[in-house]
C-alpha cells in the first residue's frame, strides 16, 4: 500500500511537471498575444470594439472564425494597406473603407496573433516571417 501511494505521488509530480512546462513557441505566442492586445487597443478597438464585436453595419466584427481562418494570409495586407472592397462577415456584407495602419512587420504579427487567438479563436502563433511573405502577395 505504501509503495502504491509513493509511486502514484511521484508519477503525479512528474506528470504535473511535464504539463507545466511550456514550449518555447507557446511562450513566444503568449508574448505576441499580450503585445498584440496593446496594439489592438491603440489602433483597432475604436471601431472593432473591445470584444471584436464591430459597430453596427459600419465596422465588421472580428468574431467570424471561418472568415479569420480563410483570410489569414490576407490579414497583414488588410491591416497595412487598408481595405476598400466589400467583405462578407457572418453572412453580412460590409461596405465602406478601412484606413491603412502602417505598422512594422513585428507589430503586424503581434496584432494578428491577438485577433486570431482572442474573441473565441484559437489559431496559434504567427511569425514575422509569415507576415513578410504575406506582404509580398498583397494585391
Amino acid at each position: 500500500m505504501r509503495k502504491f501511494i509513493l509511486i502514484s505521488l511521484v508519477s503525479l509530480t512528474l506528470i504535473s511537471m511535464f504539463y507545466s512546462c511550456q514550449t518555447a513557441e507557446t511562450v513566444q505566442k503568449d508574448a505576441y498575444y499580450v503585445n498584440g492586445r496593446d496594439l489592438y487597443i491603440k489602433h483597432c478597438q475604436n471601431c472593432h470594439g473591445a470584444k471584436g464585436e464591430g459597430l453596427g453595419a459600419l465596422t465588421p466584427p472580428l468574431t467570424d472564425s471561418v472568415f479569420m481562418k480563410a483570410n489569414k494570409e490576407k490579414l497583414a495586407c488588410i491591416i497595412k494597406n487598408g481595405l476598400s472592397a466589400p467583405v462578407t462577415v457572418h453572412g453580412q456584407v460590409y461596405e465602406g473603407k478601412m484606413p491603412e495602419f502602417n505598422l512594422a512587420n513585428i507589430d503586424l504579427a503581434q496584432v494578428i496573433v491577438y485577433i486570431t487567438n482572442a474573441f473565441g479563436h484559437q489559431q496559434g502563433m504567427y511569425t514575422n516571417q509569415q507576415v513578410e511573405n504575406d506582404l509580398k502577395n498583397c494585391k
Binding site: Q45, N46, C47, G49, L55, G56, A57, L58, T59, G96, K97, P99
Partner: protein, 217 residues
C-alpha cells in the same frame, strides 16, 4: 427586554427619518456664461435676474434633407455632439457609447440626440443617411445634421463649447473634442461628458432622468 427593543426601534426610526430628511434632490448645474438683467417685481420693486447662456437658433439639413431647427427640440432634453463619418479616431467609440444611451431612452419621447458633422465637404445628407442606417439608429429621435462650416463651427465653439477644427496635419483632416453635451428644455447647457469615457457616459445616463424630472415640477 421588551421596553429595550422598543427603544432601539424608536432610535432607528428617528435616525432613518433624520437621514432621509437631509437628502436633497440632486440638481444639475447650469454651464456657460452668465449675464444679469434688472427686472421689475410684481410689487414694483426692482430685482436682478440671471440670464444663462443658451443655444441660439439654428437651421441645418438632416439625414433626410429636411431642415431641422430648434423647434424640433422644443420641450425636449437633447444630447448634442460633433463628429464626421470618415473619422477613425474617437467618433466610433463616441457613437458606440451614445447608441447605448439612446437605446436606454428609446421609449422616452422627451429625449433626443443631435449629431453635427464637421466635415462640410463630404458629409452631405445622403452620406449621413447611410451612416445612420449603418450605425442602426436611423429615426426621428437621433438627428444627424449638415451645415455650412461657419455656422456649425461657430455653434460648436461659442454655444456648445466644444472645440472643432480643420487640421491638415491630421490623417483624417479634422480634429474635435468628444463631448456629449446635455441641453435642457430652456436650451441651456446642463452637462458635458467625454463620449470616449465609459464612466462619464454612465454619468450621462444617470443625469438625463434628473433633468427630465426637473421639467415636470
Amino acid at each position: 427586554m421588551r421596553p429595550q427593543s422598543t427603544l432601539i426601534c424608536a432610535i432607528l426610526l428617528a435616525v432613518m427619518l433624520f437621514a432621509s430628511s437631509c437628502q436633497q434632490e440632486r440638481k444639475l448645474p447650469i454651464y456657460g456664461l452668465r449675464d444679469t438683467k434688472t427686472v421689475k417685481n410684481s410689487d414694483g420693486t426692482a430685482g436682478v435676474d440671471t440670464i444663462y447662456q443658451t443655444i441660439p437658433a439654428f437651421k441645418f439639413l438632416n439625414q433626410d434633407s429636411v431642415y431641422i431647427t430648434n423647434e424640433h427640440f422644443k420641450d425636449k432634453v437633447y444630447i448634442a455632439d460633433f463628429f464626421f463619418t470618415s473619422c477613425t479616431s474617437i467618433c466610433p467609440i463616441m457613437h458606440r457609447n451614445l447608441k447605448m444611451v439612446s437605446e436606454k431612452f428609446k421609449d422616452n419621447p422627451d429625449v433626443m440626440f443631435l449629431s453635427h458633422t464637421i466635415d462640410f465637404k463630404y458629409d452631405t445628407p445622403s452620406v449621413l443617411k447611410k451612416y445612420a442606417q449603418k450605425l442602426g439608429v436611423d429615426g426621428p429621435k437621433w438627428q444627424f445634421v449638415y451645415g455650412p462650416k461657419d455656422s456649425v463651427y461657430t455653434l460648436a465653439e461659442k454655444s456648445y463649447l466644444v472645440a472643432v477644427n480643420v487640421d491638415s496635419t491630421n490623417r483624417d483632416g479634422y480634429v474635435h473634442q468628444g463631448y456629449l453635451v446635455l441641453i435642457d428644455k430652456d436650451r441651456r447647457i446642463r452637462g458635458a461628458y467625454d463620449g470616449t469615457n465609459p464612466e462619464q457616459v454612465a454619468q450621462l445616463e444617470k443625469d438625463i432622468p434628473v433633468l427630465l424630472a426637473e421639467g415636470k415640477k
